[in-house]
């Protein structure tokens, strides 16, 4: 039962509970939506002016152009650009928020925050060209924050994080192709301008504009990762747990959901101070914080907070009847949560002025009064706990260990235990000798159209046995964690002999007495840039550009606009990038061709659209071997 909905045992168990309670979930809402409109599916619907809405017939029998004369190519490209712009706005909104927080901290206005990683602060500042001598941490922080905020202005030079973190080769290519954005908000606004009626109708020009915006997406994300580390600590490998079994019957369960550690880290920080209050309310085990989606990743890797669930199964956390509060900020939060919470005691708490939901309790979270805000939130959760209906509590007895927090610094840290002088050497040597065929970065979401986690699990098994090193971020890591794949055990079970040998050696070097986990958890979605940092380091060491590396990316169950913008910059960076759902571009064979073929010639990276996970893994492996060949390395052969 429910095989069409999820492959995750805790989700499946809760689906049974939800069915008995007759609660409508995302899968039911999807069933009501099908068949979905083919014009939307092919990207051939345009609503950019009031002379529409226009459709172009994909079969060629009906209209071939919109009212203004836009062709299928133009309409598809414009639509894709706006998707990229939306993804960019979301990620950079997150980054912007962090920059403002850092600035407030530097100005003494946000005393509840602190510089947790002074070394990272100084390293990043220095890298970005800020003079460090004679300046206190807060002074440096202030200047870095100003620099970060300036990324969003109208500028005369390309955005700084991009210029300082990518390879020279990429920067040269982007510069030549006119793909360097000069400001994050600038390029987002430019997309909105060029895609409205009567501006840019050249599909290739539009796509290049979209790629430029995607690079701004990368820029904002890199900034977010850096600023998060500075404010909240650079992650180190942490042992935690995953699945809905992380909820505790005898504790006040609070889920942090959404994206920004500005909120979730503060909640985690304040919670220990309120244990007594929670126990007084009857919660024998005090307060239990769990994470959902990216913010869950943030506190998972910094504080070992368990990842209860993510993405498409977020509603099931409430169905357990044991969730006392779900605290959300922005992005990927389903508005249905409040409706579902009506049948339970769960308090859904929104915290951001731009992200409210009818039916939720809104507590406006301000950095200036962050601790107080966190206290108020936790207090609400403790009050809600008292209203728990024991009869409705059903926590699945399913919990997997998950090892998280393998930041670039952490990887370098472990590698330096093997070779302190040249930490990258062991990694590169093993790629050269074929113990590691290549690297695959898994990112993205779940998508209701695919049984939850099916593609992730199928692909990782195919790639791991082919000795591909696996990195994961965002809800991809959520998927792997749910199935116990972020463990040394999984390495023993699924890794090919080469990969197993390397992970074992590294694990021993790290003092684990066990191999490193099969999946190296790199962090939240903005932390996809951590994987780029490692790739850039390797590329620079090898003296080649990113588009020569045997590094590929995959979003096998992508659903959000953010996934599209990330995928686009991954392609721009030179990575063969797999998507497991069909994006709305097939209405334009030209756009489809540019994204999947021409991009390879122009940028080295390209999209691979493949719905079958096993075939997808094979195609990614083929791409890895093509890169190996290009580097003069022996192609990897697998039985």
């Amino acid at each position: 039962m429910f095989e069409d909905r999820s492959t995750s045992p805790d989700s499946i168990e809760m689906l049974g509970v939800a069915k008995k309670l007759d609660v409508e979930l995302v899968w039911d809402r999807y069933a009501a939506q099908v068949p979905q409109c083919g014009f939307g599916e092919t990207g051939l619907c345009c609503r950019h002016c009031l002379q529409g809405p226009c459709r172009i017939d994909p079969f060629g029998n009906g209209p071939k152009v919109g009212v203004c004369g836009a062709t299928a190519d133009t309409i598809v490209a414009r639509g894709l650009d706006r998707t990229i712009a939306a993804g960019t706005a979301a990620h950079s909104g997150h980054a912007k928020h962090l920059a403002h927080t850092l600035k407030k901290l530097a100005d003494g206005k946000a005393p509840d925050y602190a510089i947790r990683d002074s070394n990272k602060l100084r390293a990043v500042a220095q890298r970005q060209g800020i003079e460090l001598v004679g300046k206190s941490d807060l002074q440096v922080a202030g200047e870095l924050a100003d620099l970060a905020l300036e990324e969003f202005a109208e500028r005369s030079t390309p955005v700084e994080w991009t210029m300082k973190t990518l390879t020279a080769g990429r920067l040269k290519k982007f510069g030549e192709m006119g793909l360097l954005p000069y400001g994050i908000d600038s390029v987002i606004s430019e997309i909105m301008h060029r895609t409205t009626n009567g501006v840019d109708a050249d599909p290739v020009n539009l796509l290049l504009g979209g790629i430029k915006c995607a690079i701004a997406d990368y820029d904002g994300m890199a900034m977010a990762t850096d600023l998060s580390d500075i404010l909240f600590g650079t992650p180190q490998p942490t042992v935690a747990s995953a699945n809905l079994g992380s909820l505790k019957k005898e504790a006040v369960n609070i889920a942090v959901h959404g994206h920004n550690p500005v909120l979730s880290d503060m909640v985690c920080g304040i919670a220990p101070q309120m244990e007594a209050e929670a126990k007084k309310a009857g919660a024998k085990e005090g307060i239990n914080i769990v994470g959902i989606c990216c913010t869950g990743n943030e506190v998972l890797m910094r504080h070992g907070v368990p990842m209860a669930t993510s993405s498409v199964s977020q509603e099931l956390a409430i169905i357990t009847g044991a969730l006392d509060a779900m605290v959300v900020d922005y992005q990927c939060v389903m508005p249905s949560l409040t409706k579902i919470a009506e049948g339970f005691h769960t308090q859904v708490i929104t915290t951001m002025g731009i992200a409210k939901m009818p039916g939720a309790t809104h507590i406006n979270f301000e950095e200036e009064h962050a601790a107080e805000g966190a206290r108020e939130i936790i207090r609400l959760a403790i009050e809600a706990f008292k209203k728990r209906d024991a009869a409705k509590v059903h926590i699945p007895d399913i919990r997997n260990t998950a090892i998280a927090g393998v930041s670039a610094e952490a990887v370098i840290g472990i590698l330096s235990k093997v070779d302190s002088a040249d930490p990258l050497k062991p990694l590169i040597d093993n790629i050269v000798n074929g113990n590691i065929a290549g690297v695959c970065l898994f990112a993205g979401c779940n998508n209701v159209k695919i049984p939850q986690d099916r593609n992730f699990v199928a692909m990782i098994k195919e790639l791991a046995r082919r000795d591909v090193l696996i990195l994961a971020t965002g809800c991809a890591s959520g998927a792997f964690a749910r199935h116990g794949l972020m463990t040394p055990d999984a390495t023993n079970k699924y890794a090919g002999s080469g990969l197993k040998a390397v992970l074992t050696a590294l694990g021993n070097a790290a003092g684990l007495n066990a191999p490193l986990p099969l999946v190296l958890h790199t962090g939240s979605c903005v932390d996809n840039t951590r994987a780029v940092a490692i790739a850039v380091a390797i590329a620079n060491k090898l003296g080649v550009d990113l588009d020569k590396l045997p590094v590929v990316a995959s979003a096998p169950e992508a659903s959000m606009e953010k996934a599209v913008s990330i995928g686009t910059w991954a392609v721009a960076l030179g990575l063969p990038t797999h998507v497991g759902v069909v994006p709305p571009v097939t209405g334009s064979p030209l756009v489809t061709q540019v994204l999947t073929q021409t991009a390879k010639d122009l940028l080295g990276g390209y999209f691979i659209v493949e719905l079958d996970p096993v075939k997808a893994a094979e195609k990614l492996f083929e791409a890895i071997n093509e890169r190996r060949k290009g580097l003069g390395l022996a192609e990897k052969v697998v039985a």
Partner: protein
């Protein structure tokens, strides 16, 4: 006589047919005012999904219509001119026997009025609203013999062409 023929391989499930059908059978007959009417306007054609396929389902105005045979009040009848199977709301008592026997499941219930609702081939139009509005020309309003003849010609050409 003419019937609506559906070419499912051209259907994009945009549901314009459903929408235009409802509009045609409303008072105001336009997308802005019709949705707010009571009794509410109902579409009589359907586009459903199964196995990732888009499946338009239309009343066939069957020669030997089970709904006409089953109707216990004489409301279902065949229009002599258009050959369409129609429901006379002055006689319909909302017993839903027609719903019970229609093999296509295309008879609906107008709940506010308690009457059976079905495709009437848009008697006041040259050709039905759904056909006129289909953006991919998946719907065709043609004489049965003509349609079959065209299909045969197409098939013959395909065979001959190899």
């Amino acid at each position: 006589m003419k019937r609506i023929f559906v070419q499912p391989d051209l259907c994009t499930a945009c549901k314009t047919c459903e929408m235009q059908c409802a509009i045609e059978h409303s008072q105001a007959k336009n997308i802005f005012a019709s949705p707010a009417e009571t009794p509410h306007a109902m579409n009589r054609v359907f586009v459903e999904a199964a196995e990732d396929r888009k499946i338009p389902i239309f009343c066939r105005h069957c020669e030997d219509a089970p709904c006409v045979a089953a109707c216990i009040s004489g409301a279902m009848f065949r229009d002599r001119t258009t050959d369409a199977v129609m429901c006379d709301w002055s006689r319909c008592i909302g017993c839903w026997t027609c719903v019970m026997v229609c093999p296509y499941g295309v008879i609906g219930r107008q709940l506010e009025l308690g009457k059976a609702v079905k495709c009437d081939l848009c008697p006041e139009r040259e050709s039905p609203a759904c056909v006129d509005s289909c953006p991919t020309k998946a719907l065709v309003f043609k004489d049965v013999e003509k349609f079959s003849k065209e299909k045969r010609a197409f098939f013959a050409a395909a065979i001959a062409g190899g």
